[in-house]
Amino acid sequence: MTANGLLQIGFYLVVLLLLARPLGNYMARIYSDELPAFVRWAMPAEKLFYRLCRVDAGQEMRWTEYARALLWFSLAGFVAVYALQRLQGWLPLNPQRLGAVAPDSAFNTAVSFVSNTNWQGYGGETTMSYLTQMVGLTVQNFVSAAAGMAVAVALIRGFARHTTETIGNFWVDLTRSILYVLLPLSLLLALVLVGQGVIQNLSPYRTVTTIQAADYKSTPHDAAPAPTESTQLLAMGPAASQIAIKQLGTNGGGFFNVNSAHPFENPTPLSNFLELLAILLIPAAFCHTFGAMVGERRQGRVILAAMVIIFIGFLALAEYAEQRGNPAIAALGVDQAASAEQAGGNMEGKEVRFGIVDSALWATATAATSNGSVNSMHDSYTPLGGLVPLALIQLGEVVFGGVGCGLYGMLVFVLVAVFIAGLMIGRTPEYLGKKIEAFDIKMAALVILIPPLLILGGTALALLADAGRAGIANPGAHGLSEILYAFSSAAGNNGSAFAGLGADTRYYNTLLGIAMFIGRFWLIVPVLAIAGSLAGKKRIPAGAGTLPTDTPLFVALLIAVVLLVGALTFVPALALGPIAEQLAMLGVH
């Protein structure tokens, strides 16, 4: 990697870790009824909200009530997003007069945004009216993220409390996540992004007269002279407000088709840095929130350390593979070497202002979290470079992971790590003074096993069907990778894609929609069940046989468990996709 690359990445990680700590501590206070003085002025608004919703903020919920509240709330969101897309043709704020979205695509997008996946089966600027973007999609960017945060907080309370039946109030956790965390951060980020050139308006698309006319790509043979286009249509819209929360809430659904590669979504290296920071900020902060709320800060840092170490490993592979470039292109007399005047490397599907370093860093970050926004096209990555986001998603979105979902996913792996260690030393596994028993491990197993089932099962199903194979855009092993990536992304609620796959069909919209739904809600329910079970347990003091979980040894154990479970599940599929393609690419030259 280049010296500048090391500097950019090092600076990024340092800033991230410096900001994550105070934010994590702040969030811990928000969720523990200890609001800091500088936000107390907003409390009347919060109280008014509860009064209007007829919520008794002081009334705590059992895990089943908590889960029901979340599911009803998500259902309301699903219906609203679906209806907005279907009716947008008759509704205001639609200057381009975009018509109703097709039912299968609208279903897919509604599930996608309610499940915090934000898979884009559609092209934003050619499909969604401003009203749909604002009132449908931006809202889900906030509330699906906040719902994930609420579940994580409920699980943390399961560890922090003992001998109680309740794990908090869903409506309070949801409201506070939005009011005190997501909304202020989004306002700030949105305005800074506008300063960098991200657009924010409600105007119709603008037509400009270009300097030189553009040739049509395919022209009828009898047309002479060939027709040209001397104007350019510039898509407009309220982009900045959506992009800010899209990044902060690990949502990832772009305002435009090409997401954060679009110059109006991500115009400068500074906007790129801030959007990148926003991807990992809250997931990293949540580790500190966890440590603060269970009263043992080291436990939070242990989890963060495991995440950072796995992240850096994968990042190094992506940077190396992309910088090395494509040998088949080098053979055509093309210069891919990095120099002072160019980034070099594999530039297909990448933007010059981001080059290799910022593109590979983004790809790693967006897949490690369940963000799924892209600033370069993963489908055009070298085989090993593309393996990085694919494998990170398949690890279960626990390396930082989504806001909230990342932490609760990682805590499930912690339980499994403790369980495995317990088996090895012949003791009942314990974590933070709680005995981990059969019910907890069964629920943990569900959380860990459902996504692979969806990913591998879905991929197999699509490969067997004509409608599934018809979507493949690239020949050979890469075609398998495209389908594998799609189901990984959907089941992991990530939302990025090997976007060549023609997935806006009834077949894929339905299948991937189901995968996103199960990947979200069939994990949330067992996680809440664990929370309820843990909260009910007695706290037992640590004894001589207790495995300490705040040591470097435990960090290594946790990393090993995450990587082993992932590898055992997915190596065969990866061998047929990216690894086979890598061998083919090197074999040709």
Binding site: I178, Q232, S241, F264, V334, G344, E351, R353, N474
Partner: protein, 191 residues
């Protein structure tokens, strides 16, 4: 159960008003009042006409101009109403054929130039709208542009240097040249 549903509906409606109406409208109002140029797309005006956006590339195929990145948008390249990438994989024969054709077109326009072609000039951008090329890609084209415009090569190279944006604080992003702005400056120089 009815009580739970009612709470879900009211809270969803209120949060929609807050995050889907109040929030985007507030950002729009502040952005339009304080940064209207950026909020409207950093448009470039010349002699009273809109000629483009400083952030969005345009198609240049005339050898008198600097060429930008290949664009995968349809039906025309650099269609800013429908951004798109090629999404071609690294071993796709169609990708290699496209690169080969682009190398050939560059060589045909500038037969005396035998230097290896900078990679960004022959690979499609992620957005299809990339406004920039690398300084290497700009310098690769200076001899051709200078010859066809009857300008001294040193003048054109100076113009490229003048329009090269370095890394922010020497750290972030990559050095780059905005093709539209460079070509506008070139036209102003030749006129």
């Amino acid at each position: 159960m009815w009580k739970e549903i009612r709470t879900a509906l009211i809270s969803f409606a209120l949060l929609t008003l807050l995050t889907g109406v109040a929030y985007p409208l507030l950002v729009t109002a502040v952005a339009q009042l304080t940064m209207p140029d950026q909020a409207d797309g950093s448009l470039i005006r010349q002699h009273g006409h809109l000629v483009g956006s400083a952030l969005i590339g345009q198609s240049f195929t005339d050898p008198k101009y600097f060429w930008g990145r290949p664009s995968a948008t349809t039906p025309t390249p650099y269609d800013a109403g429908a951004s798109a990438a090629s999404n071609m994989g690294p071993t796709n024969p169609a990708l290699l054929a496209a690169v080969k054709a682009r190398v050939a077109a560059l060589r045909k326009a500038d037969p005396d130039n035998h230097a290896p072609v900078p990679v960004d000039l022959v690979t499609a951008s992620a957005s299809g709208l990339d406004p920039d090329i690398t300084p290497a890609a700009a310098y690769y084209q200076t001899a051709r542009v200078a010859r066809l415009r009857g300008l001294p090569p040193a003048t054109v190279r100076r113009l490229v240097a003048q329009y090269t944006k370095p890394r922010l604080f020497g750290l972030f992003g990559e050095p780059r040249v905005n093709v539209l702005q460079l070509n506008l400056a070139l036209d102003a120089l030749s006129r």
